[in-house]
């Protein structure tokens, strides 16, 4: 029972904040709603007993990405911090398409045989770490290379060029 209520509350918050994030015209507000969405995602992870992941989510996303986005938004002029309304036609098409996507995935869910919830959760930070260091070591290393590249790239792109 408790799990159900928790899920329902978190899910509602999640969807509501996501909806606000995509509809509000004010850019700063949009980013802040995104922050809330990401936080709710973290909460959702907790209900799935993925504690390590939940903490990572909060740290990286809510802490890192949102900060980044806010900074970028702040670097623009006030006047540009609005999103001009798109045409209603566009919005209708967008809504229709989004509905189609949702419908497609639901259809898949409908016809599929999904597994039931196992009693105990076997995944801990330990198992994840072991998985990283043994089976998926290559991916791990590659990821670190990628992060390096991203950092360098971002610096190179965004530095102020001498006139």
């Amino acid at each position: 029972m408790g799990a159900f209520i928790a899920f329902a509350v978190i899910a509602a918050a999640l969807l509501a904040s996501a909806f606000m994030a995509v509809s509000t015209k004010n850019l700063v507000r949009s980013v802040l709603w995104l922050a809330l969405t990401l936080f709710c995602t973290g909460a959702l992870y907790v209900t799935l007993e993925a504690d390590f992941l939940a903490s990572m989510q909060v740290i990286l996303y809510t802490g890192g990405v949102i900060t980044l986005m806010l900074f970028t938004v702040m670097l623009t002029d006030e006047i540009h911090r609005v999103d001009r309304a798109s045409t209603s036609g566009r919005r209708m098409a967008g809504g229709l398409l989004a509905a189609c996507v949702f419908g497609a995935i639901s259809a898949v869910v409908w016809v599929s045989d999904l597994p039931a919830l196992p009693e105990t959760n076997t995944i801990t930070a330990k198992t994840i770490g072991r998985s990283f260091m043994t089976e998926h070591l290559l991916a791990f290393e590659a990821l670190s290379m990628l992060l390096l590249a991203a950092i360098i790239g971002a610096i190179v792109l965004a530095r102020r060029r001498d006139p």
Partner: protein, 99 residues
């Protein structure tokens, strides 16, 4: 909770992200929508990981989080460049690849 609930939740989040990607005319707004879509995928992954008892799901989720962060970083620096040259964040103002 049955697994389908989580999947439908992630699907809804994903659709919202799609809606945002299609309607937003602002570059940063676009990035926000992309973040939403990535998160929806992550929820999906973690849910499956729990229900199938596989650690790979969560490992993969960590990967995607890292990747998405990197992508957001680079994307934002590009947005910054865009703003600097065109003094506008509107996507239509960057339509030089037209035709």
């Amino acid at each position: 909770m049955p697994l389908s609930a989580y999947i439908l939740l992630s699907a809804a989040l994903f659709s919202l992200g799609v809606y945002g990607a299609l309607t937003r005319r602002n570059a940063i707004g676009l990035l926000v929508s992309v973040e939403l879509m990535a998160n929806a995928a992550n929820i999906n992954l973690v849910a499956f990981s729990r229900y199938l008892g596989a650690a790979e799901g969560q490992a993969l989720t960590l990967f995607t989080i890292a990747l998405t962060v990197a992508e957001a970083v680079v994307g934002l620096s590009l947005v910054l460049l865009l703003y600097r040259s065109r003094k506008s964040l509107q996507v239509e103002d960057a339509a030089e690849m037209k035709g």
